[in-house]
């Protein structure tokens, strides 16, 4: 398992990501944006961890790190891959409190804070993906695919993350319904092709 704490200067609140979440045109921002951004940025604590796992096709599904799933979507994505990177990224617990705080000030600020945090989280996942793939010296790889997408169940993500100890390393835990806490956390599978 590799773990890294990320300098927050290395991640961004991308305009397009923010716009997509907020429902506004790219480049337009609500009036409260600057103030909320400042307060959210002050508390983000980005970090990520990853493990490299073997993958093998098995019957109708696929085994990742020895754990089986019948998900057609991930099976198709990983066809031709020998290994995967299992990635876990989080902005930390303080940002979740900050979103709650902003919500208490106003629903608009809470909503905007949530969108800003989501954008940062996506940026972190992209950065973590780039760095992990580089560390593993991989040239060919798939895009990120997260538990919860298509027919890949959240429970599968929970099993994988727990088996690798990634959650423990970053302080991420799961609810009974396999949601990750803190909420601004992303888990993802990236298929690696050795050729």
């Amino acid at each position: 398992m590799i773990q890294e704490r990320v300098n927050k200067l290395d991640i961004v609140c991308d305009a397009a990501e923010f716009a997509a979440r907020c429902g506004m045109p790219i480049g337009e921002y609500p009036d409260c944006f600057s103030k909320v951004y400042e307060e959210v940025y002050a508390v983000i604590s980005p970090s990520y961890a990853y493990s490299v796992l073997d993958v093998e096709e098995c019957g109708n599904g696929v085994k990742i790190g020895g754990i089986y799933t019948e998900s057609a979507a991930i099976t198709k994505l990983l066809r031709g891959c020998q290994r995967v990177i299992l990635l876990l990224c989080t902005l930390g617990a303080s940002v979740q409190r900050q979103i709650q705080r902003q919500t208490q000030i106003s629903v608009e600020r809470g909503f905007v804070a949530d969108c800003i945090a989501d954008s940062f989280c996506e940026s972190l996942a992209s950065l973590a993906q780039k760095r992990s793939v580089k560390m593993e010296k991989i040239v060919n790889h798939t895009g990120r695919f997260s538990p919860g997408y298509a027919d890949l169940p959240l429970e599968f993500g929970r099993e994988l993350v727990n088996a690798c100890g990634l959650g423990k390393a970053l302080g991420v835990s799961f609810t009974d319904t396999s949601l990750m806490l803190p909420t601004k956390t992303i888990s993802a599978i990236i298929g690696l092709k050795d050729n």
């Binding site: 604590s45 608009e108 803190p182």
Partner: protein, 787 residues
């Protein structure tokens, strides 16, 4: 000799890593170390023997991961692990101490997570009970990365055992716990709870711990424990290896011992070889039991605040006395308004916040803890828990995350007997009022004598001077011209005895005109006499101007800078209106999402044209226009939300007027995010849209069990229940809730929505109404009939 006696005389050594060593003794890769308790206890015994032989005099039981959440047969694990430790200790005829090892539960506590604090306390209490039955010498609570969970574990242990408790936490690279607590906050809370040694373990090697160890040594009055990893991990041939060898480990640990670390040991990656090298290298390093720092400190879950270094502001506004809005908010359980007051006071410069919910029509015993919890979930200032009800006090102290200020105890027997034991049990700095059964003495000496009496009694509970702050009681000058003088002179005399002081400044002007003028002057006088905690309204510019000006004039460190910074803020908040053609019609204000003056304009309009016309010709018209703009893509969700917030404010004024005259309420909606789902942004937007249309909304929050939804909706008399879920995994909870509502509340329709809910899915799970988004939810609710 028990461990507390031993630790006063000499340095003690913990053992080292468990998993790393057991992997070489039969532990299969990927299996937790505690699995060997039942399958191969001999391996565990031999591990303990090797550590004792290496020089460790505290052995941790192999129970780090054992708890009821992970193991049904946790009692068997505990018995076996303690027996193994005893077997090793007695077998070698050693005087090593056996520490029952408690690790994190693996779940995150609310408000960040979904594990209830009281359930965590119960769980740890259960573990401790079993451990005490089996016979251990002390408890070690280790590797916790959350202050709240640490408190839950300490309380759980304390409630079944008087054995010493040691605590080590896992600090991150930023020198804080995962949930934001710094070492000073941890020390404040843990010392308050009576923990006997505090420290750091895991995460990194010794040389990376220097900063945190230094901070701990500086503020702790108890021994500091350091149990690092053997450096940083890497995987070699499928096994974890660490990058520092035993000799290098020992060298680095010697440096930590030299800066004051008292109890030394190891964590992941360390072996008996490491402990042997450690013991040998630090044998001759001087050992001194730490001095009592006598710090008067309170903390929140992030940081500690020292009382006595400089005067501090305690925000007084969360108090229903004389504040109609706060009283109403508490009665209607509108904790959002309470939280907004807390945030506003923090933003205005308060260092601590007073929380008082004392009001005859409120269940204080329940409400105080709730408000403390809610405020702490959005504000990281230390809190002053302010109540005369000892049950309410205990409920709040129990769930408080940190070390609070406790207001108050006084010189009456009843108060001394009920409050001081709680201060001792839960930790805190207590505000002591210089009054007793006979009331408040009119003279200076009378108040000083009561103070001495309170301190004498507090000492019997083991409290020190630094655990008490005296309030010599501010009485209005309207009722006695000497009142200010007596209060300040008494305060000065008590300060000379070595105590810190506090005053409820605003009381001085009760019954007088232009209260802020008098309050400011009295504050300055009190600060000049050495007042440490000023309970004031930080939102009053006049009062805060006096505070900052005194800071600059008194020559205290940073006083000048704080004053200058406050001038920048004051200029911004002056409310200088630049004429942007700000509309003054209610309709325009709502459309443009402008809150300034909205409430006063609504009041004027209601008086002018009546409530019905305000609603139909202004609020509804504005919202309809905003909705059309949004649907046409000419405005966006934040604009919609903002306008809805403005409309809500307007409705708030209408409700005030209706409240006075009586009248029909809007449609009653009970709204919740279903059990298992922790997302609430969408629900919050729907709630806001409904309130903006005059609906009476009861928000049950997130992760709400269906039984609670039904019970609360019944009690509330809901006309409709609205459920939201963001994830597919929580749709079954939604179905279950709908079934329960249909069975137990027939006739009450259920509306569903959320990112994963489609019209088809809504039908499948039996929902009565489906809403695609917040705007549609609003339309559909408005079309139903009131019951």
């Amino acid at each position: 000799m028990n461990i507390l006696q031993a630790i006063k005389k000499k340095r003690l050594y913990f053992d080292g890593g468990t998993g790393t060593v057991l992997e070489d003794r039969g532990l299969l890769c990927g299996n937790p170390p505690e699995s060997l308790n039942l399958t191969n206890p001999e391996a565990v015994i031999s591990l303990h023997r090797d550590y004792i032989s290496a020089g460790a005099n505290i052995i941790k039981t192999n129970t780090f991961g054992v708890n009821p959440l992970k193991y049904e047969n946790y009692r068997e694990h505990i018995k076996s692990a303690v027996d193994s430790a005893k077997s090793a200790v007695y077998g070698l005829n050693s005087d090593a101490y056996i520490a029952y090892d408690i690790g994190p539960s693996g779940r995150m506590l609310r408000p960040i997570g979904d594990f209830e604090f009281k359930d965590a306390v119960s769980m740890y209490k259960d573990l401790a009970f079993e451990a005490v039955k089996c016979g251990v010498d002390l408890f070690l609570i280790e590797t916790m990365s959350d202050m709240y969970e640490t408190k839950a574990a300490v309380l759980g242990v304390k409630e079944v055992s008087n054995l010493p408790i040691f605590v080590t936490n896992a600090y991150g690279d930023d020198g804080k716990l995962l949930t934001g607590s710094d070492p000073s906050a941890m020390v404040a809370m843990l010392e308050g709870l009576g923990v006997k040694a505090i420290g750091i373990n895991c995460s990194k090697g010794p040389c990376n711990m220097e900063r945190v160890v230094g901070e701990l040594v500086e503020c702790a009055s108890v021994p500091v424990i350091v149990n690092p990893n053997a450096g940083m991990p890497c995987v070699v041939d499928g096994k974890s290896k660490y990058d520092i060898d035993a000799d290098e480990f020992a060298v680095q640990m010697r440096e930590l011992a030299a800066i004051g670390a008292s109890v030394l040991g190891g964590c992941c990656g360390t072996t008996p070889e490491y402990i042997r090298a450690l013991v040998n290298s630090t044998r001759d390093t001087p050992y001194n039991y730490p001095d009592n720092k006598n710090l008067c400190v309170v903390s929140s879950y992030t940081h500690a605040v020292a009382i006595g270094d400089k005067p501090l502001v305690v925000g007084e506004r969360v108090n229903p006395t004389g504040k109609k809005k706060i009283k109403e908010a508490l009665i209607t359980e509108n904790l959002t308004l309470i939280c907004q007051e807390a945030i506003a006071q923090q933003d205005s410069g308060a260092h601590l916040l007073d929380i008082n919910v004392g009001e005859p029509s409120i269940d204080e015993e329940e409400m105080l803890a709730r408000v403390v919890y809610e405020v702490q979930s959005i504000c990281n200032l230390p809190l002053q828990i302010d109540t005369g009800n000892s049950v309410a006090l205990e409920n709040a102290l129990r769930i408080y995350n940190g070390k609070p200020l406790i207001n108050s105890v006084n010189g009456s027997e009843k108060s001394l007997n009920s409050v001081l034991p709680l201060v001792k049990k839960y930790g805190g700095v207590v505000v002591a009022l210089t009054m007793d059964e006979n009331g408040i003495p009119n003279d200076v000496q009378g108040r000083v004598e009561i103070a001495k009496r309170i301190y004498a009694r507090a000492k019997k509970f083991g409290l020190r001077k630094c655990d008490i702050v005296f309030d010599t009681l501010t009485m209005s000058i309207a009722s006695g011209k000497e009142n200010a003088r007596v209060t300040l002179e008494a305060m000065k005399k008590i300060k000379a005895l070595g105590f810190n002081t506090t005053l409820g400044v605003s009381n001085i002007s009760f019954g007088m005109p232009e209260r802020d003028l008098i309050n400011s002057a009295f504050l300055t006088m009190a600060l000049h006499e050495g007042l440490d905690l000023a309970i004031i309204n930080p939102i009053s510019r006049e009062i805060m101007n006096a505070y900052y000006a005194h800071g600059a004039l008194s020559g205290r460190e940073n006083g000048g800078h704080e004053y200058i910074d406050s001038r920048d803020d004051a200029h911004l908040k002056k409310g200088v209106n630049i004429d942007t053609g700000t509309p003054k019609s209610l309709c325009a204000l709502i459309e443009r999402g402008i809150k300034d003056d909205l409430e006063s304009i609504t009041d004027l309009l209601i008086d002018e044209v009546g409530i019905d016309r305000v609603i139909n010709e202004h609020i509804v018209v504005a919202l309809n226009r905003v909705g059309e703009e949004y649907q046409a893509g000419r405005s966006y969700l934040p604009n919609l939300i903002r306008s809805a917030e403005c409309a809500s404010l307007a409705f708030g004024r209408i409700k005030c007027k209706i409240g006075k005259k009586g009248g029909n309420e809007g449609i009653k909606v009970c709204i919740a995010t279903v059990e298992g789902d922790v997302h609430d942004i969408g629900k919050n937007i729907v709630k806001l849209m409904l309130e903006s249309r005059g609906c009476n909304v009861l928000d049950l929050g997130k992760n709400v069990p269906s039984a609670t939804v039904v019970a609360r909706a019944r009690e509330f008399g809901a006309d409709i229940i609205s459920l939201s879920a963001l994830m597919t995994t929580t749709v079954p909870s939604m179905r279950e809730c709908i079934e329960r509502v249909h069975c137990e509340l027939p006739g009450v329709p259920v509306m569903v929505g959320g990112a994963v809910i489609t019209e088809e899915l809504a039908k499948q799970i039996g929902a009565d109404i489906y809403a695609r988004d917040a705007l549609e939810a609003e339309k559909k609710v408005m079309s139903i009939q009131k019951r």
